[in-house]
């Protein structure tokens, strides 16, 4: 994993000291809220419904046991014993006191973490495939490139006051697990016919009130040109992105209004000017960064495990979990194991301090000291030997972390919603909990198969509802919570935006509506091999509309 060098360390420590002074001046009355707000936002501090909130970046979703233990320590010491993993590989503490935040940041800095650029109109935490560096279908580990982008974008003087926030995601596998096409910039690594490494570049994707799938403005960007090309995109956006209207300020609006071809022309013109300059990535520097992310030494193991097979035969819970929550590793005899933060009836993405410590211990003992957080609000143990799965499962189960539901109907993404968020119009968490309880039966979940439900409590779409196979958007109507369903969204390499199916449902009716959609799918699918998304794409809205609202 990447280790801070002296510049990183000094930069983060200086920033903590600077913020400590700013907090002191705020508390002493020297700074007004109007003066302080942009300063706190630059350090990831929001004011939510109930309290301050601190958003901590987990760059490219990679966590060490020491970092997890520190998050647990902070949760216990300064917060209310838990944290909330978000849809952008961040962790949010929902209850810190302002006076404690500089101390929290100092603790975070000690384990090479920070909250810089987790808010504000700047380049946010760069996210990546949570299976990076381990997935069987990977072309290249995307994290070194995300790290290069992180270094380049941290306090980049030209891009600290962009028209609006800016999100970059990188993936290095065939399957896009990082939702790159719905980011401001999405980078999808690939090799050309000669085996050279490069990226397909998507620009102008995003969710929020104006959801859009990004445009591929370059099929193949050579590896060495990564920074110069991204800088050219940012420069075009910074110059021409709208600053007169917050709701039209994201790059997706610029791309939409200008046209992707013209944006490409502008970007390429600027890029031609700078591509052979200081930003051309030296080969040895790329390799140096890649060395930090080298796969740990995994001893050669046979492809199967008699130990695991026997344990699975004797333990139904282990069998279900291994079948659903593990995926093939590129190293024989190993898997990536999903630690579900979606217990039936629980809050999606929440994790107690004790649970963080359990995962830290098991990442150390059984996953070569690595854990990951996914944008789907789960953790991953990326390098687990098949022989060790029974022990890992037993420990996770004891900690309430072994729900066998990865990718199933109860593996729901939900934003904090009106239970925590000052922007929300409706609650998300209770809806997620009730859907989870409705589909609690594991056999039924397995029968339904792959199905992504995503819930947002307002149009800002932190719950990614636009790319949910079933998306749920909470709105306020005459003082009541209402929920609008969208169907057919997807954030993968076949990205599509969900379509609104019809009038919204009351809080009482929305779970029934979701069940109706699922039952309609089950009745109409060609067989279990046709998953929900495939069936929806074949069938269109009609049968679902009819089931929900009756014949027109």
């Amino acid at each position: 994993m990447y280790r801070y060098d002296e510049f990183d360390r000094e930069f983060v420590n200086e920033r903590v000291a600077q913020f400590r002074g700013q907090v002191a001046r705020r508390l002493s009355g020297e700074l007004t809220e109007e003066q302080f707000k942009p300063l706190r936002l630059m350090n990831g501090v929001y004011l939510q419904l109930h309290a301050y909130m601190l958003r901590v970046a987990i760059p490219y979703g990679t966590l060490s046991p020491a970092q997890l233990r520190m998050l647990a320590f902070i949760a216990r010491t300064y917060d209310r014993g838990y944290g909330h993993f978000t849809t952008r590989q961040n962790l949010q503490f929902h209850w810190p006191a302002l006076k404690d935040i500089p101390d929290i940041l100092e603790h975070l800095a000690a384990v090479e973490m920070h909250a810089i650029q987790t808010s504000g109109n700047c380049i946010r935490n760069v996210t990546a495939d949570h299976y990076a560096g381990a997935a069987a279908d990977e072309i290249i580990d995307p994290r070194p490139y995300a790290e290069i982008l992180r270094q380049w974008s941290s306090l980049h003087p030209e891009f600290i006051f962009l028209p609006r926030k800016f999100k970059i995601a990188v993936t290095g596998a065939e399957r896009d697990r990082a939702a790159t096409q719905v980011h401001d910039i999405g980078l999808h690594a690939k090799r050309d016919a000669d085996g050279n490494l490069g990226f397909a570049v998507y620009v102008g994707g995003g969710l929020g009130r104006t959801p859009m799938v990004g445009h591929r403005i370059r099929d193949f960007l050579p590896e060495r040109d990564l920074l110069s090309y991204v800088e050219a995109i940012l420069r075009v956006y910074n110059l021409f992105g709208r600053r007169d209207n917050k709701y039209k300020a994201r790059i997706k609006i610029l791309v939409h209004e200008t046209g992707a071809d013209e944006i490409r022309r502008q970007v390429e013109a600027d890029w031609e000017r700078i591509r052979d300059g200081a930003l051309a990535l030296p080969e040895d520097e790329i390799r140096r960064i890649q060395d930090y992310f080298a796969q740990p030494h995994l001893p050669a193991r046979p492809a199967g495990s008699i130990v695991l097979d026997r344990a699975r035969a004797a333990d139904h819970a282990l069998d279900s979990w291994a079948a659903r929550n593990t995926v093939p590793h590129r190293a024989s005899g190993h898997v990536l194991a999903t630690v579900s933060l979606k217990p039936i009836g629980g809050t999606p993405g929440d994790m107690t301090a004790d649970q963080m410590e359990v995962v830290a211990d098991f990442a150390e003992r059984f996953s070569h000291g690595e854990a990951r957080v996914s944008h789907e609000q789960n953790l991953i143990l990326p390098h687990v030997a098949l022989d060790d799965l029974p022990a890992v499962h037993a420990a996770l189960a004891a900690a309430g972390l072994a729900t066998p539901n990865a990718g199933l109907v109860t593996d729901i993404i939900a934003c904090p919603g009106l239970d925590y968020c000052a922007l929300a119009n409706a609650r998300s968490i209770p809806v997620a909990q009730r859907i989870s309880e409705r589909f609690a039966d594991h056999a039924r979940q397995k029968d339904v198969g792959d199905l992504k439900i995503k819930i947002s409590g307002c149009i800002n779409a932190c719950g990614h509802h636009h790319v949910g196979h079933i998306g749920i958007l909470g709105v306020e109507k005459k003082g009541e919570e209402f929920y609008q369903l969208t169907l057919g969204g997807s954030g993968d390499e076949t990205a599509s935006l969900g379509e609104i199916i019809g009038p919204g449902f009351s809080s009482e009716a929305v779970v029934d509506a979701v069940e109706t959609v699922v039952e309609t799918y089950l009745n109409a699918r060609r067989g279990p091999e046709e998953d929900f998304l495939a069936a929806y794409r074949r069938l269109g809205q009609a049968p679902f509309k009819e089931a929900l609202y009756g014949a027109a």
Binding site: H50, Y82, P343, G346, T352, E476
Partner: protein
């Protein structure tokens, strides 16, 4: 900033505490309380205007953040906000269990063994 609906019969002033960010309400003694039951209930008119001005002064004096009036009804146990958003704020936390309490609810266990 959120604006209270005009039709509310009576109001209280709410804000967030500067130091810990927690929800507070203006009380009868020009102080701030976490307990909405102790909040000062205000009629529309000069009394409300004076309270809003006082809240703003407290914001300017770095005591609280972003005060604003909310519509309430007054029941047996004191003021109850009309909007769900404000009910959730007045309840001092989410409508769902969290942290160890949620763990205990989901499993019946007291704490996760470490």
């Amino acid at each position: 900033m959120f604006k209270a609906a005009q039709q509310g019969p009576v109001k209280v002033i709410t804000a967030n505490d500067l130091g810990n960010g927690l929800v507070v309400f203006l009380d009868a003694g020009d102080g701030w309380t976490h307990d909405i039951a102790s909040a000062r209930v205000l009629e529309d008119g000069p009394e409300l205007e004076a309270a809003i001005a006082y809240g703003q002064a407290q914001h300017d004096s770095r005591v609280v953040i972003d005060p604003y009036p909310i519509d309430v009804t007054v029941g047996e146990h004191g003021p109850v906000p009309i909007r769900l958003r404000e009910k959730i704020r007045a309840d001092r936390g989410p409508t769902v269990a969290y942290g160890d309490e949620e763990r205990a609810r989901l499993t019946g266990a007291q704490r996760v063994p470490v």
